[in-house]
């Protein structure tokens, strides 16, 4: 049978397609239940929402009718669900009655700019370090790397942030200590920070994809190191050129300058767990017989490590990463608060201080939905990498002749 290569090849597999459909249905049910729980949570709280809005008491009955709080509970529930799925999260009680969704449109890109690179760079660094530590198996290296990993992983997040600020921002004055931009640079422009944040995010994503393509294409070439070096420097040069031409380079650099310290803190906090787990699973796989076979047939040490050990060892680490993601997102909230990075986390703390219930509930539902999307995506990627996962949850027999 001839195999036709195309980007959605994994959908050809009927098991895979069924797995994806099943996973999506499960995710939809989970989202419904999550929203219901949030709805019940608001109604379980021991006060009246009308008392939290600052209006004279004579207006309160009218306000109650306007907010729909006099309706029966099931009707409020249907309104709540309908407005959530049409993207309407209500209006803030405090911040000038702004719609919550427009607040998020300004804040979400900043949080993503911190959280996405932080999570993936932390994961990548952990994988890489764990792989080499397990492969080299040097006593002093293992001990020092493990201890460093544990110290950073269990370090008290705000304190680590403050130590980093005190050393690199206040002591050495390399980086700004807090805030998201330098207002002197941005004075007199109409450019929004969230626009720059979106551009930066898409630059990183596109650049990463092109780099991945270059990596795959040159995999079997003779002088692949040269090709890769040339390709990567070409990507970097092209990106820099495009930014310079657009005229936004200065603003982007300013934001990146402010991003460095929070990002480093987030990476330091997250890489340890991945590294320790990768080391443990690598050592586990190294004891298998197929590694000996691979060595015996004369493969190079690098090939054995990459293709025969690391590729198997990565699955449990990947599964752990999926479970860890909510923690990373919350960790980035704490770091936002510590660095005054004005994203969703900072908004959450402010809303909680001022009893701004719509904003708080909006953040909870958006973060929950975001985590769910990540779970589904990573589950599908994991199933794509490991065919065993596709059939393990199916109720009927997967074998068909």
């Amino acid at each position: 049978m001839e195999i036709c290569f195309h980007p959605f090849m994994f959908l050809d597999d009927i098991e895979m397609a069924r797995y994806i459909v099943r996973r999506l249905i499960r995710a939809a049910i989970t989202l419904l239940v999550f929203q219901t729980i949030l709805f019940l949570l608001i109604h379980a709280l021991p006060w009246d929402a009308v008392d939290l809005i600052r209006v004279p008491s004579a207006y309160k009955p009218g306000l109650r009718r306007a907010l729909g709080l006099d309706l029966p509970l099931w009707e409020q529930y249907s309104i709540w669900m309908r407005s959530f799925f049409t993207g309407d999260l209500g209006k803030s009680f405090q911040l000038g009655r702004t719609p919550v969704m427009s607040l998020f449109e300004a804040r979400a890109p900043r949080t993503l700019l911190l959280f996405l690179p932080g999570a993936f760079m932390g994961f990548g660094l952990g994988l890489w370090l764990g792989k080499y530590i397990a492969w080299l198996r040097k006593g002093w290296l293992e001990l020092s790397a493990s201890v460093t990993g544990v110290i950073f992983y269990t370090a008290f997040a705000p304190w680590l942030a403050f130590v980093i600020v005190a050393v690199f921002a206040l002591g050495l004055k390399w980086m700004p200590p807090e805030n998201i931009i330098n207002p002197n640079i941005w004075a007199g422009t109409t450019v929004l920070t969230e626009t720059i944040a979106w551009y930066l995010l898409s630059t990183v994503a596109i650049g990463f994809l092109i780099a991945l393509v270059v990596w795959r294409v040159t995999q079997r070439k003779a002088m692949r190191h040269l090709f890769r070096l040339g390709g990567f420097s070409l990507i970097v040069a092209l990106t820099a050129y495009l930014w310079l031409v657009s005229g936004l380079a200065l603003f982007a650099l300013d934001m990146l300058h402010h991003l460095v310290l929070p990002l480093v803190t987030l990476i330091l906090l997250t890489f340890g767990e991945t590294m320790l787990l990768m080391r443990a699973t690598m050592i586990d796989v190294l004891a298998d017989d197929h590694v000996l076979t691979a060595r015996a047939k004369g493969l190079s040490s690098h090939q054995v490590m990459e293709r025969h050990v690391a590729r198997l060892a990565i699955f449990p680490v990947f599964a752990r990463f999926i479970v860890q993601l909510p923690l990373v997102i919350v960790g980035s909230f704490v770091i936002e608060k510590a660095f005054f990075w004005q994203g969703m986390g900072e908004l959450l703390f402010r809303a909680v201080d001022t009893y701004d219930v719509p904003v708080v509930m909006g953040i909870l539902s958006v973060v929950g939905a975001l985590i769910l999307v990540f779970h589904v995506m990573l589950d599908i990627i994991a199933a794509w990498l490991d065919p065993r996962l596709r059939v393990s949850f199916s109720l009927s027999s997967p074998q068909k002749s």
């Binding site: 493990s146 544990v150 992983y153 304190w159 206040l170 443990a280 909510p326 919350v330 909680v352 779970h375």
Partner: protein, 323 residues
């Protein structure tokens, strides 16, 4: 049955078989199991380091009331209400009277640190016990009954995994009046229902298919008896491992929440940092004794429980076990 065993020629020669009562055999087996596990645990320097740190902190808890009764004056050294009026300016740097200095309100930092250790241990163990009860019971029940019960509990686990725990606690803590006990229960339930249940369940599934479960069923044991007498005891090592991770997580979560001033706790390590921040000394490195003792303690104790957990992991986790 016993007659056949005792009269078999293979066991006649050994001194163990005939006259020793069953409970002593059981005790000896238990002791041997403990000894092998301790030997395996001590092989690993990482676990020992963690254990040593935990013992040091535990000794602080014991020393504190003794010091308060004997050497330290209650009016000066009380962790919450004490104040040293002999020193004109607070926070004062470390001195022979106050080994770790005083905080902005004139209280002794060392005394606060010791008192905070007790809060951390109480919170951690409570959360771990709740986590243990929830995860083991639900994991065993889901694995044993499978089918509908299993998928209901697994969907709940999906849901809990989706919840950002600290975010929910921040919301609950600021809208309600959360105290230590509530916090421990919420952390225990959320961590128990989520990841831990899934892992415990997969372990319980491998136990469920063993022959002794079938034997117990043939002998007439009901579901309750099989779950709690035959499955749960075999889950204990793995649950104990996840208890240590829960302790670690609970201490870190409490510190973060107290630091942001959300909880209703009188004295803990997080509250100490909150006091420092409130007085505006947070980034002042010349006043290191305000923030370093509590933060380093939080990091050390969470690291210690995490290390013990990792070392236990290598003993009880079937995937990593070397035997």
């Amino acid at each position: 049955m016993t007659d056949i065993i005792t009269k078999s020629p293979a066991l006649q020669t050994t001194p163990l078989a005939t006259d020793i009562p069953v409970w002593r055999v059981r005790l000896r087996l238990l002791w041997r199991g403990i000894r092998t596990n301790v030997a395996l645990f001590t092989e690993n320097p990482i676990g020992l380091v963690g254990l040593a740190i935990i013992v040091v902190f535990a000794s602080l808890i014991v020393i504190h009331p003794i010091l308060m009764k004997s050497v330290w004056d209650r009016n000066v050294y009380d962790p919450v209400l004490g104040i040293d009026l002999a020193i004109p300016f607070h926070p004062a740097p470390p001195s022979p009277e106050h080994l770790l200095g005083t905080d902005p309100l004139g209280r002794d930092v060392l005394s606060q640190l010791m008192h905070g250790t007790r809060s951390a241990f109480i919170l951690g163990s409570l959360a771990a016990i709740v986590n243990f009860i929830v995860a083991t019971t639900i994991g065993a029940i889901a694995a044993y009954f499978s089918g509908v019960v299993d998928s209901i509990f697994m969907r709940i686990a999906d849901l809990v995994l989706m919840m950002p725990v600290i975010t929910i606690l921040i919301v609950l803590g600021s809208l309600l009046n959360l105290e230590m006990l509530h916090l421990a229960i919420v952390i225990g339930i959320l961590s128990g229902l989520g990841g831990t249940t899934i892992i415990i369940k997969s372990q319980a599934l491998t136990i469920k298919v063993r022959t002794y479960i079938e034997a117990a069923r043939v002998a007439g044991g009901n579901d309750f008896h099989i779950i709690f007498k035959h499955i749960v005891p075999n889950l204990l090592p793995l649950s104990f491992l996840y208890m240590t991770f829960t302790v670690s997580a609970a201490i870190a979560i409490e510190a973060v929440l107290s630091f942001f001033g959300i909880l209703n706790i009188r004295m803990s390590w997080g509250v100490m940092i909150h006091t420092t921040q409130y007085a505006g000394y947070l980034l002042d490195m010349s006043k290191w004794w305000l923030i370093f003792p509590s933060s380093v303690s939080i990091s050390l104790l969470t690291a210690a429980f995490y290390l013990v957990g990792r070392a236990l992991d290598e003993i009880v986790n079937p995937r990593l076990r070397k035997r």
